[in-house]
C-alpha cells in the first residue's frame, strides 16, 4: 500500500504563456519584469470596455508533428497538447509514455463556451447540437498523446490549477497512476469572454497603456487584465523519480482548499475560510509560516480581492508577513483564469531555479502592508514557496512547493 506521506515530485514542465512558451523564456521574462499584456488585435475591439490582454500569438507546434494539422486543431486543444507533451518530454517520459499508467488532469474551466463560440463565429451549429460535442477536449488530448491512465477535466474557476496538482498527487499516492500530467489551460481572450468580464466591470480599462494596466496591490488599479495560456507538470512519486535518476523541480509539499460560501463572484469579507485553506496547506506540508521563503499571491489587481488576500496573509503569517517576500506575477502575465494557479506554480519554481523573486510590476503606490517585491526582481534564497489561488464560486486554494 502507498501511504499518504509519500512524497510527490514535479519532474517535467510544459507551458505556453503571454511571457513565453518555454521554461527558460518564461523565467527570463518574469525575472526581467517584462509585461506580456498588449492591445487585442485578433478581433474587432472598438466597443469593448477593456481592449487589452495577455496573449499568445501562436501556440508552438510540438516536434515531429505536421504544423498544418496541428494548427487546424481548436486552440484550446493545441495549448493542452503543447503543454502536456512538452512536460512529458522534459521529464523524459515522452518516448516511454506507453510503458506506464500516465494520468491526465487539466483545469479547463470554459471548454464548451470556447468551442461553441469559435464554431459559431465560423457559422457552425455546435452550440445548438450536443451530438457535435460527444468527445471532450481532454479525451482528444489523451488520444493524441497516447496516454493510458485515467483522465479528468476540472474547474474551480481561478483556483483550478492547484486542485489539479492536488488531485494528481492523490492519484499517485493512491496508486491509481504511475505518472500524472497535471495543470490547467485557458484560452479566454475571445470576443464573448472579454465582453462578459468587461460587462461585469471586472477588467482594467487602462487601454492606452496595456503594460501598466495590471497593478496588483497598487492604489491605482482599476481591475484585472485577461490573460490566456497554460502550464502542465509531470508528477511522480519521489521514490520512482529517484530510481530513474530524474531531475526534480520541486516537491508538492502541501495543498489546502476551502469555500467561502459567501457570493458567486465577490470574496468573503470574513477571511476565515481563505485562512483555513492556507493553514491546511501549511499543516499538510508540516510547516509553519516562519519557514516560508516566498509567496506568489493570487492578487489579481481588483481592490476587493487584493485587500481580502492581504488580510488573510496578515492573519496567517503574523509577524512573518513583514519579512516574507510576496509578489503577484499577474502584473506581467495578466490573469489566466482557470490556468492562473498552474502558471503561478511555475513562477514559484522559477524562484527555486534562480534564487530570485519575480517582481510585481506597476506597484507604484502599495495600499497593503506586506513585504512586496516591487518593480525589479529580488535575489533571495528560496527553498519553500507558497502559491495562493482563489476563484469564483468562493473557491480558496493554497499550494506549498519545496525545492528538491
Amino acid at each position: 500500500m502507498i501511504g499518504n506521506a509519500e512524497s510527490v515530485w514535479i519532474t517535467g514542465i510544459g507551458a505556453a504563456t503571454p511571457v513565453g512558451c518555454d521554461v527558460p523564456s518564461i523565467d527570463q521574462n518574469l525575472l526581467a519584469g517584462r509585461s506580456g499584456v498588449r492591445a487585442v488585435r485578433n478581433f474587432p475591439i472598438v466597443d469593448f470596455p477593456s481592449q487589452i490582454a495577455g496573449q499568445i500569438d501562436a501556440i508552438p507546434c510540438p516536434p515531429e508533428r505536421d504544423p498544418a494539422v496541428f494548427s487546424g486543431l481548436p486552440r484550446l486543444e493545441q495549448l493542452a497538447i503543447w503543454c502536456a507533451e512538452a512536460a512529458l518530454r522534459d521529464a523524459g517520459w515522452w518516448e516511454r509514455r506507453q510503458e506506464a499508467r500516465v494520468g491526465l488532469i487539466l483545469g479547463l474551466g470554459a471548454e464548451s463556451m470556447f468551442l461553441w463560440e469559435m464554431d459559431f463565429q465560423r457559422g457552425g451549429t455546435r452550440v445548438y447540437d450536443p451530438a457535435q460535442d460527444d468527445v471532450s477536449t481532454i479525451e482528444n488530448v489523451r488520444r493524441d498523446l497516447g496516454l493510458s491512465g485515467p483522465l479528468l477535466g476540472l474547474s474551480a474557476a481561478c483556483a483550478s490549477g492547484n486542485h489539479a496538482l492536488e488531485i494528481g498527487r492523490q492519484w499517485l499516492r493512491l496508486g491509481l497512476v504511475d505518472v500524472c500530467v497535471a495543470g490547467a489551460c485557458e484560452m479566454g481572450v475571445t470576443p464573448v469572454c472579454l465582453g462578459t468580464f468587461g460587462n461585469l466591470r471586472a477588467l482594467s480599462r487602462r487601454n492606452s497603456d496595456p503594460a501598466a494596466a495590471s497593478r496588483p496591490f497598487d492604489r491605482g488599479r482599476d481591475g484585472f487584465v485577461l490573460g490566456e495560456g497554460g502550464a502542465a507538470f509531470v508528477l511522480e512519486r519521489a521514490t520512482d523519480a529517484r530510481e530513474r535518476s530524474a531531475h526534480a523541480y520541486a516537491e508538492i509539499s502541501g495543498c489546502g482548499s476551502s469555500s467561502d460560501a459567501h457570493h458567486h463572484v465577490i470574496p468573503s469579507p470574513n477571511p476565515a475560510p481563505a485562512i483555513s485553506a492556507v493553514r491546511r496547506a501549511l499543516a499538510d506540508a508540516r510547516m509553519n509560516p516562519d519557514q516560508i521563503d516566498h509567496i506568489n499571491a493570487h492578487a489579481t489587481s481588483t481592490p476587493v480581492g487584493d485587500a481580502a488576500e492581504a488580510a488573510v496573509l496578515r492573519v496567517v503569517l503574523g509577524d512573518a508577513a513583514d519579512r516574507i517576500p510576496i509578489s503577484s506575477t499577474k502584473s506581467m502575465t495578466g490573469h489566466l483564469l482557470t490556468a492562473a494557479g498552474a502558471l503561478e506554480a511555475l513562477a514559484c519554481i522559477t524562484t527555486f531555479r534562480h534564487q530570485a523573486i519575480p517582481p510585481t510590476i506597476n506597484l507604484d503606490d502599495p495600499d497593503v502592508d506586506l513585504c512586496l517585491v516591487a518593480h525589479e526582481a529580488r535575489p533571495h534564497a528560496v527553498r519553500i514557496a507558497v502559491s495562493n489561488s482563489f476563484g469564483f464560486g468562493g473557491s480558496n486554494t493554497c499550494l506549498v512547493l519545496t525545492a528538491v
Binding site: 474551466g109 464548451s112 463556451m113 460535442d133 471532450s136 474547474s155 474557476a157 464573448v192 472579454l194 462578459t196
Partner: protein, 318 residues
C-alpha cells in the same frame, strides 16, 4: 474508504494493464427532475430546509443555469433525507458533474453578440455557466466551507465525478462529499432561435458519499481504474442511476459508468458485506436501502401542459 489493490499496483513498475480500486459508501441520495416550466418556481424556492436553519437568499439562483437549479433542488432534498440540517455538512466537499451546462443561455448570448455587439453580452456567463458554477452555487446554498469543484462537463462527466469524490475521500481531504450529477433528458437540442426543439427535462442526482467505515451497511460505489475492466462504454442516464440506488439488495455489482478510454469503471454494489454496526445511525435510518416508504426525495411534478414551457435562454435569469 476501503482501498484494495488486487493487482499489486503499488509498484511503479506495474504493467500498463494493472488497475486499482476505491470504494465509498452511499449515505443517501436524492433525484430531481424539472420540466422546463417548473424551473422559474424552483429558482425562487429550490427545496426544503429544516425549520430553524438559514433560508437561502431568494436571488441565489436568479441567474443560474437550469442544471444548477435542479442540482440545488436535489441536494436540498438529500439534506432533508439525511436529517435536514445543512450545517452538518459544513466541511463536506462538493463535486458537481454537469453535462453540457449553459448551452441554451450561451447560445442566446452568441446570437445577441452577433446582432447587437459587446454591450449585449450578459456579465453572468462565467459566474453561472462555466464548469465551476454548479459546484460553487451548491456550496453557497449549503453555506458549506469544504472545497467545491466542477468536473467533466461533457458526455462522460459522471465518471469524472465518481473518481474525484472517491479520490478525495480516500485521501482524507474531506469527511464526506455531495456528488451531484446533472443533465438534460433527452439531451437538450436547440432550434435556430435557441429554443428547445424537443421536450426535455432537467435532471440532477445528488449522492452523499462517505467512507465505507462510516456507513458499512449502505450500498457502495466501486471505482476501478486501469485496464482490468472490459472496455465497453457504459453511460447510464441519471434516472437509471437513481433507480439503481433504489434496487433492493443483490450480490451482483452493476456497472454504472465507464470513461470512453476504458481506463475507468464505476460499479454499484447494492448489498455490502456484513459488517459491524454503523456509526452513522441517523443516515442509515433514512437511507433508501432501509426505507420501506415510497422515496419522498424523488421529485416528480411534470407539467400537464408542456406547450406553455418557456426555457430561460437569456442568461439574465428572466
Amino acid at each position: 474508504v476501503t482501498k484494495v489493490d488486487p493487482l499489486n499496483t503499488s509498484s511503479s513498475k506495474a504493467e500498463p494493464g494493472a488497475g486499482s480500486v476505491l470504494e465509498v459508501a452511499v449515505a443517501g441520495h436524492a433525484f430531481c427532475r424539472l420540466a422546463v416550466d417548473e424551473v422559474p418556481a424552483r429558482r425562487r424556492r429550490p427545496g426544503p430546509v429544516r425549520e430553524g436553519t438559514d433560508a437561502i437568499h431568494p436571488s441565489l439562483l436568479r441567474y443560474s443555469d437550469e442544471q444548477t437549479v435542479a442540482a440545488v433542488c436535489s441536494v436540498f432534498s438529500g439534506v432533508k433525507e439525511l436529517g435536514g440540517d445543512p450545517k452538518r455538512f459544513d466541511d463536506w466537499g462538493v463535486v458537481a458533474a454537469p453535462r453540457y451546462q449553459g448551452r441554451a443561455g450561451f447560445a442566446h448570448n452568441l446570437r445577441r453578440f452577433a446582432a447587437e455587439g459587446v454591450w449585449s453580452v450578459s456579465p453572468h456567463l462565467i459566474p453561472h455557466f462555466a464548469l465551476h458554477a454548479e459546484a460553487g452555487t451548491i456550496s453557497l446554498a449549503l453555506k458549506s466551507h469544504g472545497p467545491n469543484l466542477g468536473v467533466g462537463g461533457g458526455l462522460h462527466a459522471a465518471a469524472d465525478g465518481f473518481l474525484v469524490a472517491a479520490s478525495w475521500l480516500a485521501s482524507g481531504t474531506v469527511p464526506g462529499v455531495w456528488l451531484v450529477l446533472s443533465g438534460w433528458a433527452p439531451e437538450l437540442v436547440l432550434d435556430p432561435d435557441g429554443g428547445p426543439s424537443s421536450t426535455a427535462e432537467c435532471q440532477a442526482l445528488a449522492v452523499a458519499v462517505v467512507p465505507v467505515n462510516l456507513a458499512p451497511e449502505q450500498p457502495r460505489f466501486r471505482v476501478l481504474t486501469g485496464r482490468a475492466r472490459p472496455q465497453e462504454i457504459v453511460c447510464l442516464e441519471l434516472e437509471s442511476l437513481a433507480a439503481s440506488l433504489e434496487i433492493p439488495g443483490t450480490l451482483a455489482p452493476r456497472i454504472l459508468v465507464t470513461d470512453p478510454s476504458g481506463s475507468l469503471c464505476v460499479e454499484l454494489i447494492p448489498t455490502p458485506r456484513p459488517t459491524a454496526p454503523s456509526a452513522f445511525e441517523d443516515i442509515r435510518a433514512h437511507s433508501p436501502a432501509t426505507s420501506r416508504t415510497p422515496p419522498p426525495h424523488v421529485l416528480r411534478s411534470l407539467s400537464a401542459d408542456r406547450s406553455k414551457a418557456v426555457l430561460d435562454t437569456t442568461g439574465d435569469g428572466a
